[in-house]
């Protein structure tokens, strides 16, 4: 694969939704990948096969459908362990998504182990999902929530981060890449610093996992979460990785079927991880689909993907940055293909609505990052975000549409 030239147009044919042509004859230009990605046929096929052939429940029955379902489900877990460099599939917990994964840690670990006076350190560029659970957990335990500030270029204020990393900090909850600024945080270094200060680290890989190679072992990260639907996979599925000793120490968030060992009238014992954290019937089709998604991404190759996305992002920053009245938020040197911007005199919702007329899907709003947007001094932004199937034509279409929007709303 790596020998072939990277061809986003050819790859597009793997994604049925990208073949969509609207009633006005325009093709879909999908630039809302940071919200959710389109799905390749291989993912849809894998889930279809489960439903049409092996739709049994997992872990609990000996009949063929159940055995096949269990095999496919655990095979997907193994694929994901390999994808993130986990030492064992037993460290891979299937969740609803990144949000649930963070909540599992916030409840089962933070609320169990945080003491009054302890602190959780997050950054000012967190998504609400990696912010509110810590705010709530800290509050519940009488602990503090500290915010590491963001510099004007959209990078983390490393100096301030280091100063905030006092011995009270028991956990650093950090986004690997910002869903607004595109900034890629230097996870390995920050994790080293945090560990040196005696803190555990949760890495929110919701934005990075779809684009960057991950190696939880090399990173030595304690917890990591991501979502399937942003990674070419199905909705309703995600992953929590945690070090084995942490999974052992944590309490489960949900209790019920599948996660138990023995149940008596007055007490119960839990199954070993990862089952301990997977109460109830899991999203079997979702896990299988996510396994197919990581296979697909592996087939593309991370190096080629990264090169393509970097070139496209550079092109977009230049092209969009040159438009009159357009301001880009975040100019970090290490970044993903996530470009948030404002256009003078235009409201983000009107921009997005106008782009939609042209078949272009971009996002407008607070991006689930109100604390960051408050610091940026805007209540909402517009955002274009790329994946492997986007190319410079898409960026050109967006630029043209933005020019059109100015005319449309301000012509007199």
């Amino acid at each position: 694969m790596s020998a072939k030239p990277f061809d986003p147009r050819a790859l597009r044919t793997d994604f049925p939704a990208l073949g969509r042509v609207f009633s006005d004859g325009r093709r879909l230009v999908y630039l809302d990948n940071a919200a959710t990605t389109q799905k390749p046929r291989a993912v849809l096929e894998a889930t279809r096969r489960y439903y049409e052939e092996s739709a049994g429940n997992v872990h609990r029955a000996v009949h063929r459908l159940a055995a096949e379902a269990t095999g496919l489900y655990e095979e997907a877990r193994q694929k994901i362990a390999t994808f993130i460099g986990a030492p064992s599939p037993k460290t891979v917990v299937f969740t609803h998504g990144a949000t649930e994964g963070i909540n599992i840690v916030a409840h089962g670990w933070a609320r169990k182990f945080l003491q009054p006076g302890d602190a959780v350190l997050v950054t000012a560029m967190e998504h609400h999902s990696n912010f509110i659970p810590w705010q709530q957990a800290a509050q519940a335990r009488g602990a503090k929530l500290l915010l590491a500030p963001v510099l004007d270029d959209g990078t983390l204020d490393r100096e301030a981060f280091r100063k905030l990393l006092t011995p009270e900090v028991k956990l650093v909850a950090l986004t690997h890449a910002s869903n607004v600024l595109g900034t890629i945080n230097p996870a390995a270094e920050l994790i080293r610093e945090a560990h040196a200060a005696g803190a555990c680290v949760l890495l929110d890989a919701a934005q990075s996992a779809p684009h960057l190679p991950l190696d939880v072992t090399a990173l030595d990260v304690d917890f990591l979460v991501f979502s399937g639907h942003k990674l070419l996979g199905p909705t309703g599925i995600g992953v929590l990785f945690a070090k084995p000793e942490l999974l052992d120490a944590m309490d489960p968030l949900l209790t019920g079927g599948e996660m138990i060992s023995r149940v008596w009238d007055d007490h119960a014992t839990w199954a070993e991880p990862p089952q301990k954290f997977e109460a109830g019937t899991p999203h079997i089709a979702g896990a299988i689909g996510l396994g197919a998604a990581v296979d697909y991404l592996a087939g593309i190759g991370h190096a080629a993907l990264r090169q393509h996305e970097q070139q496209l992002t550079d092109y977009a920053l230049e092209k969009l940055g040159a438009l009159p009245g357009l301001k880009i938020f975040g100019r970090a040197p290490e970044r993903l293909g996530v470009v948030s911007f404002a256009v003078e005199g235009l409201h983000p919702h009107d921009i997005a609505q106008f782009c939609d007329r042209d078949g272009i899907a971009i996002r407008a709003g607070h991006m689930c990052a109100q604390p960051l947007l408050r610091r940026l001094g805007v209540p909402a932004v517009s955002r274009a975000s790329f994946h492997l199937y986007n190319d410079t034509d898409d960026v050109d279409a967006l630029a043209e549409s933005l020019l059109g929007a100015r005319k449309y709303f301000h012509a007199t």
Binding site: H347, P348, H349, D350, F354, A364, H366, F409, H410
Partner: protein, 142 residues
Amino acid sequence: MQLDDLYQEVILDHYRNPRHSAELAEGEALVDEENPLCGDHLKLDAHVADGKLTDVRIHCQGCAICSASASMMAEAVSDQPLDAIRRKAAAFLALLRGESAPNEEELGDLMALRGVAEFPLRVKCATMPWHALEAALKRLAP
């Protein structure tokens, strides 16, 4: 559904040239509403005299739909009797919810915002000024 059905000429005109628009200093407004989802922010001030709404002033930082809706509302309710305004508000909100036959006579120019009902995610933009007005009326004439 065409974009022009959403952004009708009269809407764009009100957006570009908002009526009854005024800077309202901190604390000066009767009602201060924010829609965190899209970041629309609206302040409204008004008074009541002789059973009519007077001195309507609005400061709206919002999208075209929100701004135009605020401007058109201000025009439609200024110097009107309170009960007529309440009827108009009810008719407008029903229109935006896509309910029954709209009362075109009651609504007049406001009918231009009818297309918003076809864009469910924008409905709040159009209704927010009216919710602010209802809040103001509750205070002015409880």
